[in-house]
Symmetry: C2
Subunit: 512 residues, 2 copies
Amino acid sequence: MKILDCTLRDGGYYTNWDFNRALVDTYIKACNDLPVDYLEVGYRSIPLEGYYGEYFYLPLYVMQRLKSQTTKKLVVILNEKDIRPEHVYDLLTPCVGLIDMVRLAIDPEQFGRALALAEAVKIMGFEVGFNVMYMSTWKNQKNFLELLPKVQGLADYFYMVDSYGGVYPEDVKETIQLVKSYIPAVPLGFHGHNNMELALVNTLVAIEEGCEIVDATITGMGRGAGNVKTELLFTALNAKGKLEVDFNPLSKLVDSFTSLQKSYEWGTNLPYMVSGAHSLPQKDVMDWVGKRFYSFNSIIRALQNQAKGVKDNKSLDTVRFNNISYPVLLIGGGPTVIQHLESIINLLYTNKDIVIVFASSKHAKLFTTVQNKQYFCLVGNEGHRMEDIFDGDFIVNPICILPPYPRLMGTYIPGNVGNNAFELQEYNFTELKIDSHTSIALQVIKEMKPTNVFVAGYDGYKEGLIDQKAQELLVENNQLFDDFIQNENIRFESLFDTVYKIPQISIYSIIK
Amino acid sequence: MKILDCTLRDGGYYTNWDFNRALVDTYIKACNDLPVDYLEVGYRSIPLEGYYGEYFYLPLYVMQRLKSQTTKKLVVILNEKDIRPEHVYDLLTPCVGLIDMVRLAIDPEQFGRALALAEAVKIMGFEVGFNVMYMSTWKNQKNFLELLPKVQGLADYFYMVDSYGGVYPEDVKETIQLVKSYIPAVPLGFHGHNNMELALVNTLVAIEEGCEIVDATITGMGRGAGNVKTELLFTALNAKGKLEVDFNPLSKLVDSFTSLQKSYEWGTNLPYMVSGAHSLPQKDVMDWVGKRFYSFNSIIRALQNQAKGVKDNKSLDTVRFNNISYPVLLIGGGPTVIQHLESIINLLYTNKDIVIVFASSKHAKLFTTVQNKQYFCLVGNEGHRMEDIFDGDFIVNPICILPPYPRLMGTYIPGNVGNNAFELQEYNFTELKIDSHTSIALQVIKEMKPTNVFVAGYDGYKEGLIDQKAQELLVENNQLFDDFIQNENIRFESLFDTVYKIPQISIYSIIK
């Protein structure tokens, strides 16, 4: 039985395939003293749009460096969806003499195309691994199953990939029997995911049932909920007397990745559990978990909709705003709203025509005494949050605006809002068609055509640690503001200091 | 099949059974909308030495408050080792009408004594749950097994507890068959731990094999590696169509505990995996993981020693210091050593007789050019760390001092140190007999009898977040310094600002 560690390859989903050099050196060096047979160190790929890091393209000098450091067999993987047989010669020539095995990540629906790719790889002299995804769906894929015998003589390993992380030990057994009935002599492999914390038990069952190779990653680092943890698999096999393990290099290595885990937070959580249990793609969940305004709650709701094939709970009326001849005050969730509350309240008391648009309802309860018209942008979990914030003690006529239909993240409207909830027709001030607090707020403002817009509480993150998620949101919001200001002929000013590229004035210069 | 959530009871191992009131309110309220049948909210206990919080003693007003909020059955647990039948009347009278079930945490070796306790509880009208620990050892415990039939008529539930978190699904099946062969009519329960990420699969197997009740905790919060996660069990059963779950209250609840998890970090890790795989107590690991100077590496080593019954790898010579008539410079790992390096080097260059004691080897490489005699305190993983720091480039004659024999955390001595490694005879300047950098350093200093001690790099944690572990270390070190200064007639001065209660002078006042 062989073990393939694919920490850099599968972990790259979290770091966009960039890793600190010292960490990679530690990893390669430690693996020399550990009972792994293969190290999958990344992808090779034709140029794709968008940024992907060092270990997605694996330039020659990186492969050379890794080869010079390791005593193990090295592996790269190709994404079958992007790579055609005609790319193979250029893509893999630099790998000759450095890389031992080339794996192919394959959608079973494209299995015919994948066979041609595998042949092109095999001809160049590499060991070939078939990594076929979505194993939970195979038994209903007759076309794919009938093509299986063609891998004989071509595949050094044929992997079953539990892409959703939702299979149980009995499913692993059943799939192995199914595959063996078509290709009894091809060595099998298993690549598990840990959404349901079943990756270890599934991997052990795969070994018992005759798989000759299994994948694992240090600390389970890998797409979505991640993989079976190499250290857990080692510990289990070692305690059963089946594997010699030196825990010294292992625990040093685990220590190195543990700090990275605290910043990227891979591993399972409730949304990944639900996606695993219902065989829903990890990719969506990974995007959603990355957005701080999608609570687990709203993600679960979206996943349940996907599982049931429901597009959304219900469609609402759209709203038509009269062109208002007043200013809008756009209020975000930043702390300046609290610091300068008195000035904002004063502005609203003395200008009762100003229309308030709450991008976030965070500070809304502070404004229950003002008589200005109030709009709330209900994206993701904001309806529940709004309800919690007001805690039954509602303002008189809140008007709630939801993203355009269909809404992935559900349609929750707080009880007291009643009929005052509407949805947008579309976003047409930007190419960035995403549901977010700021998208809704700016679309509402565009349609209102106010005389001008004041902004409060869009501070950015000036203090403390700013994490990856916050940075991405910052960039996204800034893009939205920029698109709005470029395209719409509406004056736009922040009343307080802000890190966003919005013109600034001082609230104290405009209140009486 | 019934579900018992014991988040507050088992999670209390991390918070010492104190929980923020708002969190408990959220928990109780959310559980009203979730398919749990019982909530175990804590212990009841006679007064024990040491501090244990609100949910360890559960005073009457707390039980009344919980009862007024919940629609579920409430449960408390008694630690059989602390409680005798004669305590029961006083201990449980306040529970009448508030608590539905009383569980007993039982060591199978004390099963006879536990039966008497159970009778005293049963007489008072409570449902009685037997929670019998160490299920992995039962098949060899004939005395215990022969007493089993006596629980008939006494136990409402008889629980198998996987105390070590090391059982596999097949062990669960086997133990259930074993127990059923003695008490076929008693409803069985299962309480799993998650060291090997097998808690879910074990719990599902327990249900399949006929257990009528299973335990779970939100986010798995519980002793050591924790329990099966309530949200994971719900998701699995819900996806199988066996349980209706409202994911709204569930995900809100999970969100609340997730932030607490980030601060206490319950869940499995390499040391818990090893302790689970080898059926070693979680309690030791939990203590060790709490100390920041015990790396996973040294904990694993200690666990391997325990598993093999090895007390320590080897015993060293003890060292006899001549009374030195020079000062000692005690160097810790704080940043002032780097900030003020020039002054320290100057002090050592101009006073070559000063003996350096490195409590931490963190900064030792900065001192390779000085000719002063250098001692290193090798506790836990420090030998490996020292080796990493010097990276082959060793100073000439480092002398390493290890804790007294036997050493729980192993005896690793860097290669180049050769025979210059010794162990202490004992700690005799303090009642706090613990292995730590500071303990060793102070014991060495006591035995050297220097003219006086200068301290550098014992800064405390002035900047940034200071976590629970760091605070405990701070308190512990301060206690050590205090014991030393009170009992030993040696002048002791920090050369830099420090949060420890050590007399301070300035290095700049003593260098030329």
